[in-house]
């Protein structure tokens, strides 16, 4: 195949000697503009290797890195946002919510900060999850739903062992604190009856004195809860760990407690303010 170079009768140009099904290729030279473009590309590549990082462990003469480029851009963006962030830092969440301009900015910024930091436990729309992740969109609050209460909860967290002011008191495990499982069962019936969802009235009646003895201090006489302690309301339809009897029995016997990090050491004051306004607007905010 290689030795069949011949001169084409029409164009007078030699063929390459390759032939496929009778089709032969003319051995025309490359157009010179093409060739020079090719040489120029080689020269450009050589220059590029010297100036920019192209080989492993070689930085290039200009010292350019995409990482520096990125941090520079980020610094620029932060500088641009700084005047607004300063205002958000200086104002209280309630003041921010009252100012349409600040509120719009805080809702947008809070949404992003929420998705980054909070959605992992509380869900993308603040809906929470059974198992101790409270919904932030409903009207039930462990520590209160005012701007100040939300702000404090975000700042200090709950039962995290890192912030001495963290929210929440640990509930005792009553199976270990002296109640028999039969008694736990009776208390559970009584607790369910507080929200009108219980079934066994006699068991509930047996549980009533046990409730007064063991639970009233934190959860209140009618099960209204205590926000200072983070003791949940028991007379509503919202259950952190499930409202069926087995879940309630388990909660009383072995205790439950949610943990939330303290965000004051992790997030900027402006971000916490924006988060407060955003969470307040999810649907459960109290005035």
């Amino acid at each position: 195949m290689a030795d069949k170079r011949e001169t084409d009768a029409i164009s007078g140009v030699s063929t390459t000697g390759h032939e496929w099904d009778g089709i032969k290729e003319l051995d025309n030279p490359m157009p010179s503009w093409w060739l020079y473009t090719f040489y120029a590309c080689i020269a450009f590549a050589a220059l590029w290797v010297v100036l920019y990082p192209s080989l492993p462990f070689v930085r290039g003469v200009l010292g350019y890195t995409t990482r520096n480029d990125f941090t520079g851009v980020m610094r620029e963006q932060q500088a641009r946002a700084e005047p607004m962030l300063a205002r958000l830092r200086a104002a209280t969440p309630a003041e921010i919510a009252a100012d349409p301009e600040l509120r719009g900015y805080a809702l947008a910024g809070g949404r992003i900060a929420f998705a980054t930091n909070c959605a992992g436990c509380h869900g993308s729309g603040g809906q929470g999850a059974t198992g101790g992740f409270p919904s932030l969109a409903d009207d039930d609050w462990l520590y209160g739903g005012t701007f100040d209460a939300i702000h404090t909860t975000i700042s200090v967290g709950a039962r995290n062992g890192e912030n001495p002011e963290a929210r929440g008191v640990q509930m005792p495990a009553f199976a270990a604190a002296g109640l028999s499982m039969a008694q736990v069962d009776d208390v559970a019936e009584y607790v369910l009856s507080l929200s009108g969802t219980g079934g066994d009235a006699t068991a509930a009646a047996r549980g009533a004195p046990l409730y007064v003895e063991n639970c009233v201090a934190c959860h209140g006489e009618t099960g209204e809860g205590n926000r200072d302690l983070g003791a949940p309301r028991l007379n509503d339809r919202i259950w952190l760990y499930g409202g069926d009897k087995a879940s309630v029995v388990r909660t009383i016997a072995y205790a439950r407690a949610g943990v939330m990090p303290s965000w004051s050491s992790r997030l900027d004051a402006a971000t916490i303010n924006m988060l407060t306004v955003y969470v307040h607007a999810l649907g459960g905010g109290e005035r």
Binding site: I10, A137, D140, I238, G283
Partner: protein
């Protein structure tokens, strides 16, 4: 090794460029073309300067595609990006109009109104003013280099570039405020993009009208390739009446037809073809050969119309009627007598007219029924519903109120759906009966968050239809948006 399988010397598939030197011509068609050119160029340059008062803070340019603010202004009409289908409809209208015009009158678009033709005509006119007519230009181009030739060429290209810049600049004026743009261009403070696009359209105008010319029509433009589908035997096309002209020959000779073979039709042709060869792809139907031929026929005392706008059906009828005639006035009369009137009403033209009327009706209806106030309700999906402490169920919605007017109206929001649902809109005022009042954002979209709550005792379905309705001051529904209420079935 000699190749014995190749044929002797096949004709080349490559056509080298032959420069066309069209001669100036005067006549009826040329006059019409000058008028069309003046009107179209006038429109093109004047329209961006027309003003239309829309109130403060709004562009007052009558025709403006405001790309940066995503609005299309056309006199009293203002379109949003989501209404781009009106532009699509307009383009469809233009296409069908083009089909209809082609089936009736042949390549009138190509020959009279196409920008390529209009600007090429303008550039040729400039060329003639500076370098002279066909013969002078051919002679000068073929002759030795001279100072005169160089100076004329420089002058011609300078004039072309001035026209090209004006063309490119005027095009940008349809996208930016014209007076502001001119001021910015004059002071050098326009944006880089502006300079880029002015330069781009300057370059294309200069190249297409100055150099590429007929090659655009012959090689680049798709329209000549498929317009054959719109033409038929009854469409008007520029034709040479072969039955009358042939056999062509000198005026003095005997037995010749009316064509004196002077070549005038070839010399004036902007695409450099000979119309006497019959229908050709290259012919743009400009009709300048008609003027040229009529002028010659007048000089030799023969009737006009040896080249004419004629239908192929008439041409065939004339040819058949004159088959046995010898050249002479009798043949001319017999041929002309065999022609029939132009058939404007044919199935093809009726079909185009019908489609045209249909699209116009659809567009008009769409435009007259166009909503200037729209309400969109988007149900939040995370979470689909929230359980409240009393056992109630709450859904949240994002309401988007788009107001295409600039009235800054306020509207009362009501809810239509299963009875007993409570409606609350965050961060808005309410009227005396507690209904939320939504302030519209003039020429913009206002976003609200609505919370709809079903009390604990309300029976629920998994999926209930809801409609948010917007009422004006008189209580009329001005906009509404559909959504659903989700909950656990009970």
């Amino acid at each position: 090794m000699p190749d014995t399988t190749s044929p002797a010397a096949p004709s080349s598939l490559y056509a080298p460029h032959r420069k066309v030197y069209p001669r100036a011509v005067k006549g009826r068609v040329r006059s019409i073309k000058w008028i069309v050119l003046a009107v179209l160029l006038g429109l093109y340059y004047i329209v961006p300067w027309l003003r239309w008062d829309r109130g403060p803070g709004v562009p007052n340019q009558a025709v403006l595609a405001d790309i940066s603010n995503a609005r299309l202004f056309f006199f009293w009409i203002e379109l949003w990006p989501q209404e781009i289908y009106f532009l699509t409809g307009f383009l469809i209208l233009a296409a069908i109009g083009l089909f209809a015009a082609t089936s009736l009158f042949g390549r009138v678009w190509c020959g009279f109104t196409c920008p390529q033709t209009v600007w090429t005509d303008l550039f040729m006119w400039v060329e003639r003013r500076i370098e002279g007519d066909r013969n002078a230009r051919m002679k000068r181009d073929a002759g030795p280099p001279s100072r005169d030739r160089t100076l004329r060429r420089i002058a011609k290209h300078a004039a072309w570039i001035v026209i090209a810049v004006a063309t490119g600049g005027a095009w940008i004026m349809y996208f930016q405020d014209a007076p502001t743009l001119v001021r910015q261009l004059a002071t050098g403070s326009a944006s880089t993009e502006t300079y880029f696009f002015v330069a781009l359209f300057t370059a294309t105008t200069y190249m297409l009208a100055g150099f590429a010319r007929e090659q655009v029509c012959t090689y680049m433009c798709p329209w000549p390739r498929f317009q054959g589908a719109m033409l038929d035997q009854d469409s008007l096309v520029v034709t040479y009446r072969e039955w009358r002209g042939e056999p062509r020959g000198k005026l003095k000779g005997a037995g010749h037809g009316d064509c004196v073979d002077c070549g005038a039709c070839v010399h004036v042709c902007p695409t450099g073809i000979d119309i006497r060869d019959g229908q050709q792809l290259e012919c743009i139907g400009c009709g300048l050969c008609i003027d040229a031929c009529d002028e010659v026929m007048g000089k030799v005392n023969r009737p006009d119309g040896l080249i004419s706008f004629e239908t192929l059906a008439n041409l065939a009828a004339s040819t058949a009627a004159t088959a046995r005639f010898a050249p002479g006035p009798e043949r001319q009369q017999a041929g002309m007598a065999a022609r029939t009137r132009l058939h404007l009403i044919r199935p093809r033209t009726m079909m185009y007219a019908g489609v045209l009327a249909f699209v116009v009706a659809v567009m008009l209806a769409g435009f007259l029924l166009r909503d200037t106030l729209t309400l969109t309700a988007l149900a939040e999906r995370a979470p689909p519903f929230v359980r409240l402490s009393d056992g109630g169920i709450r859904n949240a919605y994002t309401l988007k109120l788009a107001d295409k007017t600039r009235d800054a109206g306020h509207y009362v929001l009501t809810l239509q759906g299963p009875p007993g649902l409570q409606l609350l809109v965050q961060d808005v005022e309410t009227d005396a009966s507690g209904r939320p009042i939504l302030p519209a954002r003039p020429d913009g979209v206002a976003t609200f968050r609505a919370l709809v709550t079903a009390g604990p005792e309300l029976p629920l379905r998994e999926h209930a239809e809801l409609r948010f309705r917007l009422l004006d001051a008189e209580g009329h529904v001005v906009a509404s948006g559909k959504s659903v209420f989700l909950g656990p079935e009970r």
